[in-house]
């Protein structure tokens, strides 16, 4: 069953189109990354799902049912920024969240321990650092042990150790079988923890699917010779690559990851009477792939 299904969600802020007819589904048990640069509509989309923004058009289903407050109580959500009462302590803030979700207070110590905030449970929220605020928000999401978690930029404001901890926490939650929907502009974050990904750019859904399908990696062989037209000509009869690209000075052969073999290519060219003056294997970075996807 799909945890979340979006059907043509569109959102206008006055004349600006923040989301344009976005549709996709989040399968149960997946770690679903919503990837996109700043301002691509990630938070707007999650805001609509959480009923704090009203869509201009379109609809969505939560666990196959129309959205409701009762459903939101069963989801742990961190949206955009940690929102707490500044004058209350961490524990008292979590009591409010627990009360709203209809859960008892007895879980509060354990969720605070999970995010390493237990020793500061009596400090006022206003005294917290950005990273601590973020961790408190994650603790609040964990209240009531929900099956679905929604994290919008969960590692925002955290230091490298904190980032690693949160990633570990998300991975652990995923192994417990929870569905996690995570918005991020950090590609390697998505790559490291997500099983599925949807890519948004200026409100348009560019692609969605399994991470290894969408963010597929490629090997690139770059070649150069004195007679470039001749080189290109003979390469047409070479097998194994997916695509040939003409760059300024070199030619590029694109291979599925791990299948490029420099020796074979070199030998092939030599055997066909072309001596190479440039031959290099390049690993295509995810960053390039992401930029490529979002610059279409």
């Amino acid at each position: 069953m799909d945890v979340l299904t979006l059907n043509g969600i569109t959102k206008y802020y006055k004349r600006i189109c923040a989301l344009n007819n976005v549709s996709f589904s989040v399968p149960e048990g997946s770690v679903f990354g919503i990837l996109g640069p700043n301002g691509s509509g990630k938070t707007t989309m999650l805001g609509i799902v959480m009923d704090i923004l009203k869509p201009s058009a379109g609809s969505f289903l939560f666990m196959g049912e129309p959205p409701s407050a009762a459903m939101r109580r069963r989801v742990g959500t961190l949206l955009e920024t940690p929102n707490f009462y500044h004058y209350l302590s961490a524990e008292r803030n979590l009591r409010i969240a627990a009360e709203i979700k209809g859960k008892g207070f007895e879980q509060i110590p354990s969720v605070l321990q999970k995010v390493n905030l237990y020793h500061r449970k009596d400090s006022k929220f206003s005294t917290y650092s950005l990273g601590m605020k973020q961790r408190l928000a994650i603790a609040s999401c964990l209240l009531g042990d929900p099956d679905v978690l929604v994290f919008d930029e969960p590692t925002n404001g955290l230091d490298p150790v904190g980032i690693a901890e949160i990633r570990e926490l998300i991975k652990n939650l995923a192994t417990e079988g929870k569905t996690i929907i995570m918005a991020s502009h950090l590609l390697d974050e998505v790559e490291k923890v997500c099983t599925h990904v949807a890519i948004l750019k200026t409100g348009n859904l560019i692609t969605a699917g399994n991470v290894d399908e969408v963010l597929v990696n490629e090997d690139i062989i770059e070649l150069g010779a004195a007679d470039m037209p001749m080189l290109e000509n003979i390469l047409r009869s070479l097998n194994g690559y997916k695509e040939i690209k003409r760059q300024k000075e070199y030619l590029q052969l694109l291979y599925t990851m791990g299948t490029a073999n420099l020796e074979n290519v070199n030998k092939f060219c030599f055997d066909n009477g072309v001596v190479l003056n440039h031959l290099q294997l390049k690993k295509k970075s995810l960053e390039t792939k992401f930029l490529e996807l979002t610059n279409k």
Binding site: Y13, D51, I52, L53, A69, A70, N83, Y85, Y87, A97
Partner: protein
């Protein structure tokens, strides 16, 4: 609803700003009337001035049964502080963005706004209770044997006015979202702007018998008219000024309450938060 009110209680329980203001406000209800009472005592200290005052006032304003009208009327001048308390409760949510978090965590938009309005009713109830005790206090020290609940309908009028203030405050909080501007506009509106508008309209439009001055039916004014200061009543009678049309005033007051309620509710239900 009880569970939602418990959540509100968790929010304010440890909020010192709110409690300092609330306690000072409730003490000021007694304080404002103590000032009025002291002036009365000063006037009645001399026999001549007392006779004159009797002529103008028609008896001591802090004695039963006039004390009900006097206390509520005097207190209505500081009722805007109850609006301040309400605005803080609303705009805090906006500045901490906790209104969003509450919805995200599972309160419905309707529950959220209706709970805030209910808090307004609670603030109004507490204000009314303190006014009632204050009136009783001054009436009793004036003359303990004279206790009377005649004219205590002013307590009910006061409650209606108090709800008007808090619900208007909720509305202003929703519109402006920031406490500074919401409080500023609310104070200026309830203390000055509406009175000025009422005066201008009353002057510009000819008074009909049915609506003796359209300005008297503005949102706050419509309840203010129910709580006139008990002076010059004899003089007014001599001048043949039309009596206050209680039914009309109450109808307008209720109409405004319904309007505040539904506009605020609709706004919070449909806005992007």
């Amino acid at each position: 609803m009880l569970q939602l009110l418990k959540i509100e209680w968790l929010k304010v329980k440890n909020y010192r700003t709110f409690w300092i203001l609330a306690v000072l406000y409730l003490l000021s209800i007694w304080g404002a009337n103590y000032i009025g009472y002291s002036i009365q005592e000063k006037i009645y200290a001399s026999k001549e001035a007392g006779n004159m005052a009797d002529m103008i006032l028609g008896g001591r304003p802090y004695a039963f049964p006039k004390v009900w009208q006097m206390t509520t009327s005097a207190t209505s001048y500081i009722l805007f502080i109850s609006g301040l308390l309400m605005i803080i409760l609303v705009t805090n949510e906006f500045s901490f963005k906790t209104h969003r978090q509450n919805i995200i965590d599972g309160v419905t938009r309707t529950e959220f706004i209706v709970t805030k309005m209910t808090c307004g009713v609670i603030i109004a109830l507490v204000s009314t209770l303190v006014v009632f005790l204050t009136a009783l206090f001054f009436g009793l020290i004036q003359n303990p044997s004279d206790i009377s609940f005649q004219d205590s309908q002013y307590i009910v009028y006061f409650f209606i006015q108090a709800v008007s203030y808090t619900w208007l405050a909720v509305f202003f909080g929703l519109i402006f979202k920031r406490s500074g501007i919401a409080i500023g506009v609310f104070f200026l509106y309830t203390l000055i702007i509406e009175n000025v508008l009422a005066l201008i309209f009353n002057r510009a439009l000819p008074q009909s018998y049915f609506l003796n001055g359209i300005g008297n039916y503005f949102p706050i004014q419509s309840t203010d008219e129910l709580l006139p200061v008990p002076v010059f009543e004899q003089v007014k009678k001599q001048l043949d000024e039309p009596d206050i049309n209680i039914t009309m005033q109450l109808s307008f007051a209720f109409a405004y309450l319904i309007i505040f309620f539904f506009i605020s509710k609709r706004k919070f239900e449909t806005d992007d938060l």
